[in-house]
Symmetry: C2
Subunit: 354 residues, 2 copies
């Protein structure tokens, strides 16, 4: 069987960080750790929108739905002014493919940080139901709907508990484990003291998910208001294992978590459902450094590893994680980490360390 | 003239941190740096709700509206389960008194951090318009409305630019200034790449506020998406001067900013409009340490200083800031800052340093 991956570099450094991820996967394929691979370039993004008038062409959606086993997305630029007709392709892709979970792990080699954000990826304010009105005095009022459903919240809750169990199992199996966690925990992040109905429903759904499976009783459930969470994440990062959150809080806290580990340039994610994963480095399109061959490819390489792990190729993924960790211990790192290496240097270093 | 202040300890450590703030103000009054003072105890909070069935009695609202020149609020506990009829009194007070701005400065003595969050305090998801429905399959769906108006956004924007000018003036007047800022700037925090209508309106309104007054052209306006902002705040805190944000983002980033300066226990705020201010330490009710006389009173003392500064007593306020800074340089600090001092010890140290 041949595995087919959609490649969507989108904007800015997306074009530079996807090839390294592809070459790492190809190397593993040539060593038979992965099957034969095929990469299908697909259009999406703001640059494409400016050429073609559409940010996410139907053809891309069709191929993603029917013709590929996984995908890697680069990063999108946000227009600096309102642009009529433009809408973020990454948000649309998540919705079209029902990639209901955004999984963003961060950890440090010294074992101080080992957390993963499990972000609900389909609703909350991201349903983009917005309207604009004019008041009696001629001034404007805008309204957006924030939607939280029991189904989506329980679904993401169950996944969070599964992930907590899996992480615990991995930790148990390691003879030398640097993780700060001795027992698995899920932190439920919300703001139910203000949003008692929507975040109240999220909170109750996470509790229900906890009770939905006997196996989950091994996992401790803790609650944390989102504002205090951001405070505590920076004061006591070692506390947090799996953090489950509605879409927007998840967006914010996963960027914050990236600050804990030195650079957005090393933080991976996948947008996933139970059968499909789209890799996506957490960083943006970084127009200021695009085209200079100094973007850090580690986030996209690690995202590709998360993707194949989600597809069941755990060993191949583990090989990538180890190689990346080794490279990060050396001085062949890009400027975001204080080094002088180029994107290509890091790619080669990872290939050598594989 | 006698100044009258409403005192609303509310819950938990609110009862312990308000008396020190009161005594600091009384000391300044006895030295004639402030006029005669009167303090009026007022009911509010979750503890009061459990006794009286209401979290914010009408009487408290009446006195706040008609009988006092300012107020100090402690902190509220959030019920750990949904409690019918309970709704946060602090959110309600902000609305009843139209305290449209929540001003939260943080700084470090080493001059690495010197920022202030200017949070819109009346709308966004805090309008608490929420509803619960049942879907065809019997599962629940909850919806909340997020409201952003041009008027409220421009109003908070103008205040942010005024504050930026004022901070710049203070910096210019200091012979030795440890601030990292050489020119005033306002950072407009939003998520207009997803919420193009609501956050689009916020963004345009801040731009309009910038252009509304010739004097504001001295202030640089910079935009930052809220997720990247949280990342950058921890990587390059020295960049940020005045940060203006819609209500919920402001809530989250001001708690994050507190982590930059060591402890929530030192971060003050006022809820203000152009004629009235209610002081409020940023920390919560901290049930785990309530009643132990170890809560840090500095946040509430500094909040009281912000309040009288807002009333025009800048010199008295400056005296409090100086005294607090001096105490913070010593070792008479509470456990949240790594010390062994009690609430009372810190209160006495501040009084001595005045
Ligand atoms: C680009 C933007 C729409 C996106 C989001 O908000 O989800 C990004 O910040 C992310 O986290 O993947
Ligand atoms: C207690 C809560 C309602 C409040 C808020 O969200 O505004 C608090 O977090 C704050 O920041 O003052």
């Amino acid at each position: 069987k041949t595995l087919r991956f959609g490649m969507l570099p989108a904007d800015g450094i997306g074009h530079e960080v996807l090839p390294p991820a592809q070459r790492v996967l190809e190397e593993l394929s040539s060593r038979k750790t992965l099957p034969k691979l095929e990469f299908i370039p697909l259009n999406a993004g703001f640059e494409y929108f400016r050429r073609a008038g559409v940010a996410l062409p139907d053809e891309t959606i069709e191929v993603m739905k029917n013709d590929v086993d996984g995908a890697i997305f680069g990063s999108v630029s946000s227009p600096s002014h309102k642009v009529t007709g433009y809408s973020s392709p990454i948000v649309a892709l998540r919705k079209h493919l029902d990639l209901y979970a955004n999984i963003r792990p961060v950890s440090t080699v010294d074992g101080k940080v080992d957390m993963v954000t499990v972000r609900e990826n389909t609703e909350c304010l991201y349903i983009k139901k917005e309207e604009l009105d004019t008041l009696g005095d001629g001034s404007k009022v805008a309204r957006a709907t924030r939607q939280i459903t029991q189904n989506a919240s329980e679904r993401i809750g169950k996944l969070a508990f599964e992930i907590a169990l899996k992480r615990d199992k991995v930790r148990q199996s390691q003879s030398q484990c640097s993780s700060p966690h001795t027992e698995p925990s899920v932190w439920s992040i919300h703001k139910s003291n203000v949003l008692s109905v929507t975040d109240g429903l999220f909170r109750e759904s996470i509790k229900a998910a906890h009770k939905s499976d006997e196996r989950f009783s091994k996992v401790k459930l803790v609650e944390q208001l989102v504002d205090s969470f951001v405070y505590r994440m920076f004061r006591e990062p070692q506390l947090f294992d799996v953090c489950v959150a509605p879409n927007l809080y998840g967006d914010i806290i996963s960027d914050g978590a990236a600050a804990l580990v030195g650079s957005l340039g090393v933080v991976p994610s996948i947008n996933a459902n139970d059968t499909f994963a789209m890799a996506e480095p957490v960083h943006g399109s970084a127009p200021d450094i695009a085209g200079k061959n100094i973007a850090n490819p580690i986030a996209s390489i690690r995202s590709a590893a998360l993707m194949i792990e989600h597809m069941g190729y755990s060993e191949a993924a583990a090989g990538i994680y180890r190689a990346v960790d080794e490279v990060l211990k050396g001085d062949k790192v890009t400027p975001d980490l204080g080094g002088k290496a180029t994107t290509t240097d890091v790619e080669e270093a990872v290939l050598r360390a594989l």
